[in-house]
């Protein structure tokens, strides 16, 4: 859906998405890294299970909710990536204790 600029010289940051290695760039938010990854990163809503992707990218719509390092329902558009970060796509309601 999105491609990176040829001029982007920021350092590579390696994250894991559903266990698979993905290369992001320093300064990416989790949502930006997911959208740039080319993977299917659609979450499922907690109400009907409908698929969604980030909508606003500025912290207001909560359609970018994602599990980061084992913590559910985080706003991926507000969290910068870090080396070794583990991302899981949320399917429905947040699980208890995560």
């Amino acid at each position: 859906m999105f491609k990176r600029s040829d001029h982007d010289t920021r350092p590579i940051v390696r994250i894991l998405v559903e266990g698979a290695p993905v290369e992001a760039r320093a300064g990416d938010t989790v949502s930006a890294a997911l959208l740039a990854s080319g993977r299917d990163v659609r979450r499922l809503t907690a109400v009907s299970g409908a698929p969604r992707l980030p909508y606003c990218m500025m912290g207001v719509c909560f359609d970018c909710l994602v599990t980061i390092d084992g913590v559910g329902n985080r706003q991926g558009c507000l969290v910068p990536v870090a080396d070794g970060m583990r991302i899981e796509i949320q399917k429905g309601k947040r699980e208890i204790g995560r």
């Binding site: 999105f2 760039r25 507000l78």
Partner: protein
């Protein structure tokens, strides 16, 4: 990223966009102790997002209006204000106590003055299919572009109206991104209302810049005007966009649809603090009721920037300066001599706002894009359609707060940000009332979700404990 260093400050500024940066720099220069709290990773707000970190070093790509923010970022860094990014302000009350979450922990700080510079968000654009993966706001695409250098590379349609649409399109094209078509939803009759304000607009910088952008984009992308009946289609993700021009219906394959029909004040924190708002029939949004230089109905709280009514980045910075000057006058009047006079800033502001009445009227979003048909989802969080809301009105729902009881609209994590305006206008239409009469959600802290453990760690008095542990 750490908690505030002190318990109290002369001034707390919330939001590091143009208004917040200008307010902070001005107040710090006057010697006030200032804390600037901002949700993003760096300064700039939305309009200058990632100004200190964007990978797009070629200044022509983002354009001069973007880089004009550097002066204020510099001014901020030259001053000694305390600045905390990735800070979420979740509570503000009339005692000017601010609940802020930083790095997973919350603290309360108090201020003698607060300037809310929480800016704007994009107006909801509820069309059929707008929740499908692949439908985003134009602002979202611009955020990806500025902060990560990302541009669309699959079939892409941009739809809607307003200056941002053209700026974003030009930026995507400069970076080699893909735009298949632009669907302009501006209603042709808007020009009638806008015309009386054309002279002021013609002498503002908007005109020259706007025309150049439109020329740049039209040279490369086909633009369709007079678009109605816009819809996103697809199973599980966007596959096509349908629309009408006159009686002709067209379908375009697309995997990305970027929507935009202007921006509106981000009112949640101000409303939760008890700041009075009123419906504005020109901007079709709730605006805070303001006295001079951004003063609100709550003593000590001012609103500056687009949160005070949409005026653009230049006006926002000037409003930020004015609100800061008012704070300096109240707290350290002797320091006013070091700063520019308020009269001169007010005159600058009047010039900066000159073109706005024309733009507001020309780009007034059409009713069909504000008050959707029955099957369209209005509340994205609770997945409530326009029909659901009309049915609730039919059995007795009078306004947005009663509607919550019937349908849970606005009770999800976005707290009404993506449905509130639609709900107000839709209920007003269904009940034959004005939006002012219908009103808005009654908002309360936390204005952003906060972890239970964070709340649990806050201070508790004996009386507060005894209000819970009884019997």
């Amino acid at each position: 990223m750490s908690a505030p260093l002190k318990d109290s400050y002369d001034l707390v500024v919330i939001g590091a966009g143009p208004a917040g940066l200008a307010a902070t720099a001005t107040a710090a220069k006057a010697g006030l102790s200032v804390l600037l709290l901002d949700e993003n990773a760096g300064p700039g707000g939305q309009v200058w997002r990632a100004i200190t970190s964007t990978p797009l070093a070629d200044r022509g790509q983002l354009g001069p209006d973007f880089w004009s923010g550097e002066a204020l970022v510099r001014a901020l860094r030259e001053g000694d204000a305390e600045v905390i990014h990735r800070a979420t302000v979740w509570s503000l009350d009339t005692a000017l106590e601010i609940g802020v979450s930083v790095g997973g922990g919350s603290a309360f700080v108090t201020a003698r003055r607060v300037i809310l510079a929480t800016g704007a968000l994009e107006r909801p654009f509820p069309i059929p299919g707008w929740t499908l993966p692949g439908v985003m706001t134009a602002g979202a695409a611009q955020t990806l572009l500025k902060s990560s250098g990302l541009v669309p590379d699959e079939p892409t349609v941009i739809a809607g109206q307003g200056p941002l649409l053209w700026l974003l399109s030009a930026q995507i094209l400069r970076l080699g991104g893909r735009i298949d078509r632009i669907l302009d939803t501006t209603e042709r009759r808007n020009i009638v209302g806008a015309l009386p304000h054309a002279l002021a607009f013609a002498t503002s910088p908007y005109l020259r810049k706007g025309l150049a952008l439109i020329r740049e984009v039209r040279a490369k992308v086909s633009v369709v005007s007079g678009v109605t009946d816009l819809a996103a289609r697809g199973e599980g993700r966007l596959s096509s966009v349908t629309y009408k021009v006159g009686a002709r219906e067209e379908t375009l394959p697309a995997s990305l649809l970027l929507l935009h029909q202007g921006v509106v004040p981000n009112v949640n924190l101000a409303m939760a603090a008890g700041v009075a708002h009123a419906w504005d029939d020109v901007q079709l949004a709730w605006l805070p009721v303001l006295g001079q230089d951004g003063a609100t109905s709550v003593e000590g709280i001012a609103v500056a920037g687009d949160g005070a009514g949409i005026g653009g980045a230049e006006a926002a910075a000037l409003r930020g300066r004015l609100a800061a000057l008012a704070a300096v006058e109240a707290l350290a009047p002797a320091s006013l001599a070091k700063l520019e006079s308020r009269e001169s800033v007010r005159a600058e502001l009047a010039r900066a706002e000159r073109g706005r009445p024309f733009l507001d009227r020309l780009f007034r979003p059409g009713k069909q894009f504000r008050i959707p048909a029955d099957d369209t989802i209005v509340c994205r969080c609770e997945e409530i359609t326009a029909r659901d809301i009309r049915e609730a009105v039919a059995i007795g729902a009078t306004g947005p707060n009663q509607l919550k009881a019937y349908r849970r609209t606005g009770m999800g994590p976005c707290q009404g940000r993506l449905c509130g305006l639609t709900v107000t206008e839709l209920m007003a239409e269904a009940r034959g009332k004005t939006p002012q009469e219908i009103g808005y959600y009654r908002l309360r802290a936390p204005v952003k979700p906060i972890a239970l453990a964070e709340l649990a760690a806050l201070p508790k008095s004996k009386a507060e404990t005894e209000a819970v542990v009884r019997g």
